[in-house]
C-alpha cells in the first residue's frame, strides 16, 4: 500500500460528505481494496457531466475541471429524478452521483438528467495500520438516554423528491423560533449533501445535523436498526432544543422512508407529521399511504400550494388542512395546527392514540 503525500491530499478538493472524517490520519492509499459504503477515496475527474461542481466541507460549491483530484465517499444512491447507483465492486472507473461527494456506479438514471460525471478512484485512503478511513469513523453517538423527555419531533415527509419538504422544514424552523422556541433541524435519510443542512442553519435552526453526522454517506439499503440508530443519535445531538424538525428524504413509497415511518422508535418520538405534496392526487395518495401506516399528517404543504387550483382540488376531497409555507409566518393558527398529533387508526377503523406512557 503506497504512502500518500500529505500535500497531495491538501491539494485535492475535499467533499462535504467527508467533513467529519479525520483526514489527517490518512497516510496510505489502497489500490486494491474492494470498496464498502462510506469508504473514503481519492479520485480523479475524468469527464464532467451532471455534477460539474463539488460541495466542499465548508459548503462552498467549487467548479470542477477534468483532471482535478477529489476526496469522495463511496455510497449507494437512490434519486428518482437523478441516479440509481450502487457502491462498485472494485476501484475501476465509476461516477460521481451527488455534488456532496458520492462515488458510485450508475445503474439507471432519469431521462432528464445529464450523464453522470465520470471519475476514476485512485485508491481508498487508509491509516498507517491499513484500516480504511470511513464516514462511520467519527459518527455521533447516542449521548443522551432516550428515556429522558425528548424535544418535540415534527417529522416532514413528502410524496416524492422536490415536493417541497426542505422549504417546509425551513419555514417550520422559522415559525417555531418566532414563538421563542429553540428549534433544531435534522435530516434522517438521504444522500450526502450540504444543501439542506445549510438551508436549515440559514432558516435559524439552533442546531442542524444529518445522517452523515451519524456516519453514513447515504442511507440507501440501511437496515431498520441502522436507520433507528441514525435517528437516535441525531435526536440525542439536539436534545437541549425544544423542537426538532426532521426531514425524511424522498417519497412515501421509498424503502427507507417506509421503514422509518413503521418504526416504533420514530412513532414514539414523533409529535406530529407534515406532508409535503407535489399535486392533489399525490397528496391524496400520500394520505392513503400514511393512513395504511396508521398515521395522519397535521397539514399538507409543499409544491401543491403553488397553485390555488390544485389546493382547491385537494380541499374538495380531503379535510386535512393544506397550507402554503408563506402562511406559516403570517397565520397564528399554524403552529397549533402543526402540533396536531399523529393519530393512529386501529384495524377496526377507530381513531385512537398510541400510548407511550412507559417510555
Amino acid at each position: 500500500m503506497p504512502a500518500i503525500d500529505k500535500s497531495r491530499l491538501k491539494g485535492a478538493r475535499r467533499s462535504f460528505v467527508t467533513r467529519r472524517v479525520a483526514l489527517e490520519q490518512a497516510t496510505r492509499l489502497d489500490l486494491n481494496r474492494t470498496p464498502v459504503a462510506g469508504d473514503i477515496c481519492l479520485a480523479r475527474i475524468d469527464n464532467l457531466g451532471h455534477h460539474s461542481r463539488l460541495e466542499l466541507i465548508n459548503g462552498r460549491r467549487c467548479t470542477l475541471y477534468r483532471g482535478d483530484e477529489v476526496i469522495l465517499a463511496f455510497a449507494h444512491r437512490y434519486a428518482t429524478d437523478q441516479f440509481e447507483s450502487v457502491v462498485p465492486e472494485n476501484l475501476g472507473p465509476c461516477q460521481m452521483v451527488a455534488s456532496g461527494g458520492i462515488a458510485s456506479k450508475v445503474l439507471t438514471q432519469h431521462a432528464g438528467a445529464r450523464r453522470a460525471t465520470q471519475i476514476t478512484p485512485l485508491g481508498i485512503l487508509c491509516r498507517e495500520d491499513g484500516r480504511a478511513l470511513n464516514t462511520s469513523d467519527e459518527a455521533l453517538s447516542v449521548a443522551t438516554p432516550l428515556s429522558r423527555r425528548q424535544p418535540e419531533l415534527i417529522t416532514v415527509v413528502g410524496t416524492g423528491m422536490n415536493a417541497g419538504k426542505t422549504r417546509a422544514m425551513n419555514e417550520l424552523v422559522r415559525s417555531f423560533n418566532r414563538y421563542g422556541l429553540r428549534t433544531a433541524a435534522i435530516k434522517i435519510t438521504g444522500t450526502g449533501s450540504g444543501r439542506d443542512y445549510w438551508h436549515y442553519l440559514d432558516a435559524g435552526a439552533c442546531a442542524a445535523a444529518d445522517f452523515t453526522d451519524a456516519g453514513h454517506a447515504s442511507t440507501v439499503n440501511l437496515t431498520q436498526e441502522e436507520l433507528e440508530k441514525i435517528l437516535a443519535s441525531l435526536v440525542s445531538a439536539c436534545s437541549d432544543c425544544d423542537v426538532i424538525v426532521a426531514e425524511i428524504a424522498d417519497g412515501l413509497l421509498q424503502r427507507e422512508t417506509r421503514i422509518l415511518l413503521e418504526s416504533a422508535m420514530l412513532r414514539s418520538m414523533t409529535t406530529s407529521i407534515v406532508l409535503a405534496a407535489s399535486d392533489p392526487l399525490a397528496a391524496m395518495g400520500g394520505l392513503r399511504q400514511l393512513s395504511e401506516m396508521r398515521l395522519q399528517p397535521a397539514i399538507v404543504t409543499g409544491t401543491i400550494t403553488k397553485s390555488s387550483l390544485m389546493m382547491r382540488e385537494f380541499e374538495r376531497f380531503e379535510k386535512t388542512p393544506v397550507l402554503d409555507t408563506v402562511q406559516f409566518s403570517e397565520d397564528e393558527r399554524v403552529i397549533p395546527m402543526i402540533l396536531r398529533p399523529a393519530l393512529w387508526v386501529d384495524n377496526a377503523g377507530q381513531k385512537g392514540w398510541q400510548s407511550h406512557a412507559t417510555g
Partner: protein, 262 residues
C-alpha cells in the same frame, strides 16, 4: 377509551373552534390535577406550554393552554365576547371539557396560572364563576385587575351594566380561591401593551408593580374583614415584564414548583 400520547405537546380545536395546546406527563401515578396556562396579549401559549413541561413532569400535572386568537377574541382578558356572542369564559369551559374528554383525565383539580393578559383572564374567570372550580390561582404580571369595588363597572370593579349582567362577578368566589400574585420588581415600564386608561391609573397605579401591590393590599384588607383567604404577593427581584426571562433567570419556575407543592 382514547389512550394518550403522554410526554408530547399536542393541540386540538374545541367544538367552538378554540384551539388549545395540551401536555400530559409520562408518569406511573394517576394524574389528578391540570394546570391551565393562560397566555397574555402577545398570544404565545406555545412558548408557555413548552416552558412548563419540566414543571408538569416534576409535579405530575397535566397542562392545558387555550389559544385566544386575536382575530376572534381580541379582548379575551376582559371576557368580551367574540362576534358570535361567545364569551371567552364559555369558550374556555368548552375547550377544557374537550381536553378532559380526549385525555380521559379525571379533572379532579384545576389550577390556573396566567401571564399578563392571561392573569387578567384568570382572576376574572374565577370572579365570574367559570364552570370549572379553580383550586389555585396564580396571576403573573397582570396589566390591571378587577378591584373589589362595587362602585366601579366591571371589569374595573364589581358593578355590572346591562351588557355584562350575565357575568355576575362575585368577590367571594375569588376570596375562596387561594391566590398568588407574582410581579417583577422592575415591571414599571408603561409599554405599549399596558392599558394606560386614566381611570385605571388613578385607581390602581401607573404601572404593573404598583397595580399588583394595590390590588393585593385591597384584597387582603377585604379578607381581614370577611375572614377569607388572603392573596400573597411575590416580587421577583430584577424581573421586568418578560415571561421568558422570568422563567429562566428570575426564579419564576422555582416559585411555581413551590406553589404547586403548597
Amino acid at each position: 377509551m382514547a389512550q394518550l400520547n403522554a410526554g408530547k405537546v399536542f393541540s386540538f380545536t374545541s367544538p367552538d373552534g378554540l384551539d388549545y395546546l395540551g401536555y400530559v406527563p409520562r408518569t406511573d401515578n394517576k394524574i389528578t390535577a391540570t394546570l391551565a396556562v393562560m397566555h397574555g396579549l402577545n398570544r404565545n401559549p406555545v412558548e408557555m406550554i413548552f416552558r412548563f413541561r419540566d414543571l408538569a413532569d416534576r409535579k405530575g400535572v397535566a397542562l392545558f393552554a387555550p389559544f385566544f386568537h386575536k382575530s376572534r377574541f381580541r379582548h379575551f382578558q376582559q371576557l368580551k365576547a367574540d362576534n358570535t356572542g361567545l364569551c371567552p369564559k364559555a369558550a374556555f369551559d368548552n375547550a377544557y371539557k374537550d381536553f378532559l374528554s380526549r385525555t380521559a383525565l379525571s379533572g379532579e383539580k384545576l389550577y390556573m396560572v396566567g401571564f399578563s393578559g392571561g392573569g387578567q383572564f384568570a382572576h376574572r374567570y374565577v370572579l365570574t364563576g367559570g364552570e370549572h372550580k379553580v383550586d389555585k390561582l396564580m396571576l403573573i404580571a397582570s396589566g390591571w385587575y378587577t378591584m373589589p369595588d362595587t362602585e366601579e363597572i366591571f371589569p374595573l370593579g364589581l358593578k355590572t351594566d346591562m351588557n355584562r349582567e350575565h357575568l355576575a362577578p362575585d368577590i367571594s368566589r375569588l376570596q375562596a380561591c387561594q391566590t398568588s400574585v407574582v410581579i417583577g420588581s422592575k415591571d414599571v415600564r408603561r409599554s405599549s401593551s399596558l392599558n394606560t386608561d386614566k381611570q385605571i391609573d388613578a385607581l390602581q397605579g401607573r404601572n404593573r408593580l404598583r397595580r399588583a401591590r394595590n390590588w393585593v393590599a385591597a384584597m387582603q384588607q377585604l379578607a381581614e374583614k370577611t375572614n377569607a383567604k388572603k392573596p400573597s404577593l411575590v416580587e421577583l427581584k430584577g424581573a421586568g415584564h418578560n415571561f421568558t426571562t422570568m422563567m429562566s433567570k428570575y426564579g419564576l419556575q422555582e416559585h411555581l414548583i413551590g406553589w404547586l407543592e403548597d
